[in-house]
């Protein structure tokens, strides 16, 4: 077998001459940077601080007032998280997991097989079909809401998870097929030819050779799709939320709570928001590399 030439889709070069020492001439740069960082941080900081304050305090004063009473007893509490989890957010968290994991796993599997065919198999209509996939990438999913929810109502499957899994699979497939096909197509053709000469079938080449080599792009798409499905509100609301409230995912539950923003929910919102964000933030920090790679693969060539 010949040497494997793997092309990483994106290689972010490290800067060579970005000055490593602080000099006076860079002062305005640092000032601008600090300003931007503060502006970007303040919204999230406010809600994080509020989520740990006691409920009466959240209602009574702005979050910035804690800086006068940082170490007072009674300033900080986990009570909001306790209340929020008891009031349906623990259930919603489980629902979000139940929706997201299969909605990531199914399209990756289906797309990987299709991408291999588009990259390495010959069949009539191949280019036409792939062009259609390319076109479908920008079709707004709003186009699918009315017909699909009608079909789901007829079948009696609104409010169930499987309907949502397959819908998310459908909406994620164009990008998945596109990303995977481009990556697989960039693998060395002599590698595949020599495997074929050795008598390997397409199935063997796909599972033993192409899939292991495609792990970076599989991870990139998985990260994208995970964040997309977990953070989705519209699809879950339409296919799940109305029909069966006990199956509500976090975004729908959070939006409902926000709807009662009157006064009662005010002290619960910050903690609820953080419960909904904790897993994507974790995934984001852990897999940021893959996430960036997935984002850039479509728009910047490495």
């Amino acid at each position: 077998m010949t040497a494997v030439t793997e092309k990483a889709p994106v290689a972010i070069k490290s800067p060579k001459d970005s000055g490593d020492s602080f000099t006076a001439s860079k002062f305005p740069v640092y000032l601008a940077i600090i300003l931007i960082a503060v502006v970007w941080l303040i919204p999230a900081l406010g809600i994080l601080v509020n989520s740990f304050r006691n409920p009466q305090a959240i209602q009574a004063s702005g979050w910035w007032t804690v800086f006068g009473q940082l170490f007072d007893s009674g300033t900080w509490t986990l009570q909001n998280y306790q209340t929020v989890l008891d009031q349906g957010f623990a259930n919603a968290f489980a629902n979000s997991l139940a929706v997201t994991i299969p909605a990531v796993a199914i399209p990756i599997t289906v797309a990987a097989f299709a991408a291999y065919a588009f990259a390495w198999m010959d069949f009539p209509g191949r280019n036409l079909m792939f062009a259609a996939v390319v076109g479908l990438m920008v079709v707004p999913l709003q186009m699918a809401l009315i017909p699909i929810s009608r079909i789901y109502v007829d079948l009696g499957v609104t409010g169930s998870f499987p309907g949502l899994w397959l819908a998310h699979a459908g909406f994620g497939l164009p990008l998945a097929v596109y990303l995977l096909r481009n990556y697989m197509g960039s693998l060395s053709s002599s590698l595949i030819e020599s495997a074929q000469i050795d008598g390997a079938s397409h199935f063997t080449i796909f599972t033993r050779l192409i899939l292991p080599l495609s792990m970076p792009v599989l991870a990139a798409f998985a990260t994208l799709q995970f964040l997309w499905v977990w953070n989705d509100y519209l699809v879950a609301l339409v296919f799940l939320g109305v029909a069966r409230p006990d199956n509500n995912v976090l975004t729908v539950e959070l939006a409902n709570l926000q709807g009662q923003f009157g006064e009662g929910a005010l002290n619960l919102l910050p903690a609820a928001a953080f419960v909904s964000m904790i897993l994507p933030l974790f995934v984001f920090f852990l897999l940021q590399r893959y996430f960036v790679r997935g984002l850039t693969a479509g728009s910047v060539k490495g």
């Binding site: 097989f113 197509g185 960036v292």
Partner: protein, 385 residues
């Protein structure tokens, strides 16, 4: 909704030359029938399994059981099916096998796409030509109403303003941040970029809750202002303002949320492009006496122009389809409605399928040129092989 990059660049697609096998281009009816059948089996099994088993529909079922079953079937089961179909196809005569096998691989994806995107698109276009209940053909009158009645015109106007303002600010700020970050030491740069990029992990709903605590309003006498904006505003001695009800400006306050979310995306992509600008050109310009601004204006920006267009288009598409922020923050009231939000409320609240579908078609028509350009670029790529 995370921004995905749906825009192709000229040099994007690798040229691929699959190994031709005898029979792979056969076009007889029998072969096409076999191709269709093998494409349908995987989706059919998924649908039958997911939708007929009572326990997957039953809310009482343990969620862990549901997820485990879904993964076993959705990945393991599907995998096994692909394998079994591949074995079956291998039992066919060589020529027929080579003709059918690609559809064992690509067929299921194509069928799922056909069901969830192609068919619905056609159906939505047809629905948009029918009355509210769908029982009567009304021609273009739904579109006529959208482009004449003030409630829809407001949605259209707002969507257009969103689509102009948000991408421009995201790209400009993203470009500025990327350029500034490039001047920092490596570690500081990464920490800073992560911070601006962080909101990309946050849902639109979550971001709306975050900003609800900035825009929060209490009428005078109803307690201290807990919203940051009003606290600052009243700090200057002014009386508090209900920002979400402030005509026209409330739209801009909503846009700030999306800008907070999407600028990180612009920054990350543009930052990668900036690092790709060849050093020797930049060095040569500096030796010739160019200052930083001239380098940025005359070298960096022209070099990464195509990336800027791609980022701008991607954010434009995301912005045009924005729903969550408006739905959660204002419900489209007080003149903040946008097309995607109006579409959902027409369909689900007012049960007006015709108008809802027509609004969805309006969403599609605007991204149509991008769709056509993408396909054209792809065809050119293929033709050059």
């Amino acid at each position: 909704m995370t921004a995905t990059p749906p825009v192709l660049r000229d040099e994007e697609l690798e040229t691929v030359r699959p190994h031709e096998e005898p029979g792979s281009q056969d076009n007889s009816i029998q072969i096409w029938l076999l191709r269709l059948v093998s494409a349908l089996i995987v989706p059919a099994v998924l649908v039958v399994f997911f939708f007929t088993f009572e326990f997957l529909q039953d809310p009482g079922t343990n969620k862990v059981v549901q997820v485990v079953v879904a993964i076993i079937v959705g990945v393991g089961g599907v995998w096994l099916l692909y394998w079994a179909l591949d074995r079956l196809v291998s039992a066919l005569p060589d020529r027929a096998g080579a003709g059918v096998r690609p559809f064992v691989f690509a067929g299921p994806a194509l069928m799922i796409l056909a069901f969830y995107l192609v068919y619905p698109t056609i159906d939505t276009v047809v629905t948009s030509l029918r009355s509210a209940g769908g029982d009567e053909f009304v021609g273009l009158s739904n579109y006529g109403r959208i482009f004449s009645e003030s409630q829809y015109l407001i949605s259209l106007r707002n969507s257009v303003i969103w689509a102009i303002v948000v991408p421009i600010i995201c790209v400009s700020v993203g470009l500025a941040v990327a350029t500034l970050a490039d001047m920092l030491p490596k570690k500081t740069e990464n920490a800073f970029k992560s911070l601006v990029f962080l909101p990309m992990a946050v849902s639109f709903v979550g971001a709306s809750v975050v900003f609800a605590f900035i825009y929060s309003f209490r009428a005078p006498g109803f307690g201290e202002q807990i919203g940051l904006l009003n606290a600052v505003w009243t700090g200057f001695g002014a009386s508090p303002i209900d920002w979400m009800k402030l005509p026209f400006w409330n739209n801009l306050f909503l846009m700030v949320i999306l800008i907070w979310l999407q600028t990180g995306f612009a920054m990350v992509i543009l930052s990668a492009a900036i690092k790709g600008v060849p050093d020797d050109i930049v060095e040569a310009a500096r030796i010739d006496g160019a200052n930083e601004w001239q380098v940025f204006r005359r070298i960096t920006v022209p070099t990464i122009a195509s990336t800027i267009v791609v980022v701008w288009t991607t954010i434009l598409i995301t912005t045009w389809k924005v729903y969550d922020i408006v739905a959660v923050m204002t419900g489209g009231n007080d003149g903040t409605s946008v097309v995607a939000e109006k579409m959902v409320s027409e369909f689900f609240l007012f049960r007006n399928n015709g108008i809802g579908a027509a609004l969805a078609v309006v969403l599609l028509i605007v991204v149509m040129p991008i769709l056509v350009i993408n396909i054209k670029r792809f065809r050119q790529q293929e033709a050059m092989r």
